[in-house]
Symmetry: C2
Subunit: 536 residues, 2 copies
């Protein structure tokens, strides 16, 4: 634990003019009488809770051990069965109820949750996320602040306009999350791409960009903000390890950077893909163990390294509970939190009270240990899905595995897909047939929800005339017409400067489809890409 005192830090040079201009809420003055015993407040614009038309709300919540933490045969999702027979017959649930008026004042209740409230969220949920952050992310200094927000996309939108003025740049991975870039773009805050490898943003490339920054040539000051998705980078599925994180944090210290850690996939750390034939029934590393060992088995948050208050971490319940919660939390210094709270007061106000109440009741019902049990199982479930989808590719294509020699996959075990040898006249595969051209390559993701594939359009005779970008769109349309939708690679190019690529890309999500759908999608992909690349 660092002896750093966030309250002593002057962060004002990191704040945008917009953030500096936000006035302290005039309501602040009212707060000094907040909770004064016997005070009658006729100050707020509060409707009477008598007219909230809910006596109570309830949920049947899955028990926290609903999914296994050890891989067993048939442990993949049963949701098709649920759909068929009705969830109540197969799921084990426990009921939670939130009354309008609580039995004990400290209980979660609708009279408070559905009323206007503090932008930072319900105290009961604030307490839960603070304790969770403490135990799981273990920030490197005391007196950090956790504060609820309305989902990571909105949180990032608020953070970037709090930190950056129009015309400034933000350092981002070469391929990254398009909605985050779209938040910046209308404010004329520009993404500055940094080269990546199998661990995401490269520290050497980051240093080079910062060292060589030429304000005149670039037409903007050296960026002071880094946007990072260190786990399950969207779209590449890379995982930034501890050593790399230390290097990047050290660069933040040297160059005075603020690092925004957008980490929705933190608990989806699936580890290295092992081909099916070599895969045992061994436990997923860490999932079947106690909480401390489970946490230790995960790549840590940048927060753990943060001894100077340089990290603004964004957590969300979108991947651990459900995206529709539109609920998450910031972890950062009190000073940044104060500016972000002001931003919330004049826009989203507080996250939805129904969502806050139900998530709070769920987490209270499960308890910390139950939630950790849920998260361990979630990690295994997505690992099984990742494995299943890569297995499908291995069945549909002839996959070779070889170390990458250039670009982001240098030194990685790169999987390259070729058309399988054709059947000969007697119906047998001719294993000795000459290998066709490489169709696509990928490195199986180590976290997150996506496989990022490169399509070798440069092997195609039309490449010289069409170029990668238009070939990518052409193939994307042919796939869609044939019945399978991928994410077009160009979407994930932060600068929009995709034309110079020699390969096309697709982001393929393995998070949401049944096994049968993934299998069928892979077969369609095989048929379409073989035809497209001229290898029927």
């Amino acid at each position: 634990m660092s002896s750093f005192k966030p309250e002593a830090l002057d962060l004002s040079h990191h704040l945008s003019d917009l953030a500096k201009a936000r006035q302290t809420s005039p309501l602040k003055g009212l707060f000094r009488y907040w909770g004064k015993p016997g005070l009658i407040s006729l100050a707020g614009g509060l409707p009477s809770p008598a007219y909230f038309p809910y006596s109570d709300i309830s949920a049947n919540v899955l028990v926290s051990n609903s999914f296994p933490v050890e891989p067993t045969q048939g442990s993949s999702s049963f949701s098709w069965l649920w759909k068929l027979f009705g969830a109540d017959k197969l799921e084990k649930t426990t009921s939670v109820t939130i009354p309008k008026y609580p039995l004990r004042p400290e209980d979660i209740n609708l009279a408070t949750a559905l009323q206007y409230g503090l932008s930072g969220g319900l105290p009961q949920l604030q307490k839960i996320v603070k304790e969770f952050t403490d135990k799981v992310f273990q920030p490197g200094y005391e007196n950090y602040t956790t504060m609820l927000h309305a989902g990571n996309t909105d949180a990032w939108n608020k953070v970037v306009i709090t930190l950056c003025n129009p015309g400034e740049g933000v350092l981002v991975s070469k391929w990254t999350y398009p909605s985050a870039m779209a938040s910046m773009q209308p404010f004329n805050i520009k993404p500055i791409p940094v080269d990546i490898d199998a661990q995401g943003m490269r520290s050497d490339a980051l240093r080079t960009v910062l060292v060589e920054w030429d304000e005149t040539a670039r037409g903007m000051p050296r960026p002071h903000v880094i946007y990072a998705v260190p786990i399950g980078e969207n779209p590449t599925g890379t995982t930034t390890g501890l050593a790399r994180k230390k290097e990047i944090y050290q660069i933040c210290v040297e160059f005075g950077e603020i690092l925004v850690e957008d980490d929705p996939y933190f608990f989806l750390q699936e580890g290295v893909y092992v081909p099916k034939s070599q895969r045992g029934h061994q436990s997923h590393a860490g999932s079947g163990v106690d909480d401390e060992r489970f946490i230790a088995s995960l790549e840590p948050s940048y927060l753990k390294l943060d001894y100077q208050g340089r990290v603004i971490r964004l957590d969300t319940f979108s991947k651990t509970i459900a995206p529709g919660c539109r609920l998450g939390w910031y972890t950062c210094t009190p000073q940044f939190a104060e500016r972000l709270e002001r931003a919330a007061e004049t826009s989203t106000q507080a996250p939805c009270g129904f969502g806050q109440a139900l998530v709070t009741a769920t987490l209270q019902e499960w308890g910390y240990e139950g939630y950790m049990r849920w998260l361990k199982a979630l990690r295994l479930q997505y690992t099984i899905r990742r494995d299943y989808f890569v297995d499908c590719l291995a069945e549909e294509f002839q996959l070779t595995i070889a170390p990458g020699t250039t670009g982001m996959w240098e030194g990685c075990q790169v999987y390259t897909g070729f058309a399988k040898p054709k059947r000969n006249l007697t119906g047998y595969f001719n294993e000795k047939a000459p290998m066709s051209n490489a169709l696509f390559s990928f490195v199986p993701p180590t976290s997150g929800m996506f496989v990022w594939i490169k399509v070798h359009f440069d092997q195609h005779p039309s490449f010289a005339t069409l170029g990668a970008e238009s070939m990518e769109m052409k193939l994307w349309i042919e796939l869609a017409e044939a019945g399978v939708l991928f994410g077009p690679g160009a979407m994930f190019c932060p600068t929009g400067d995709y034309a110079s690529e020699r390969t096309g890309h697709f982001r393929i999500s393995f998070s949401n489809s049944e096994n049968g759908e993934m299998k069928k999608a892979t077969e369609i992909f095989g048929a379409v890409i073989r035809k497209f690349m001229g290898d029927l």
Copy 2:
């Protein structure tokens, strides 16, 4: 119905640079295959609904006729009884349940509501608000768009940065909602106050500001946006009638203005206060009647007059269901809606799925007629509260009623509060004692949740040295220390230029307190202001 075709309107000169710069979502390209039968989508970043930990959620919803529509003795809120005995024993409720997987595809369900979804909201709720808008607000042209948003404050924040560039001004009422002003302020969009009267913004004053606008002297172009809270203006409680609305809309046409109608209190149209002694048990105008007559009894929305697509209306469920819903909807032209949808995609994304699902289930359970029944009763409930609070003032003070001669209350029946005559030595009031100085004045609100009082600090000997603003704060603190919290008037001054006022102001909310609390608060107010104004 106007023959105006919104699709033919060029609104681009009303869009800010920020709004123009928003790129059409790259996801739009994916939507052309949306819903294609048999399509397998591996394009999105969707977690599997199998891992949403809810089999179902339920609510016990008050029946739509829970509150009376006719005033009867004892029809005020029973919520203290509910708190004492438990709501379930006294309330009549009906249960709604939202399953994860629906029995019929069109049914509201958690697999959809808790998933990433369209920024515009769940189709079932979109359908409800469209029909509601059609029947209740009756827009003046066809092909308008309704689109869900995350509450009026966030919606206004998105609207104002969609319409205005930094350095521009927005026309607002002289006293208005501080959070709306605070949304503009960091973007350097300035409120331009327009004088008001008992109907809110004055059309003649608005015209004068626009006609006499001197771009050089003002240092900004003539404002092209009006922010209006026509019903229950916060803080003044005024109601803009149809004739005034027609005048203001005509000015919008003449001067090319866009009018943003922020209308959370639409259904809290309480009408003119009748002193208790003159009040019969007559039906609240319109509340006990059929839906068409009820709607006709309400001052209409600006939408009804809108034949040129100049109105962006903001509706919210905050006052009709509960503020914690953080849910409402825009009504505007498709072009404005498209830009606002882009703004949502890169920030709030969609409103919370729990809130959308529960509000949808509630409104489906009640049906249109049930919801109208609920709204009629709500209007009466707040009318009873308004009446009760003004009655309390009439008991605590000697109130005179006289036509106002200057300022915003010219021609209104202005109520002025004096200290009651003191008891004489035998314990009787001396009705013939000379009248003390006026303590405060107000016009009872005709809609909304607030009484706006002027305190006659100019009658106080210290006025010349202290001024109204610091006397207001001094009295506000004395009231708070004595146990009652009002909203300080300075909060509601959009420009912050409060120093030149000769009176102080308080906004007093009658929406949320029990009768006993309101009575006690009035007594404390009486004791404190009499002492403060030197009339013990």
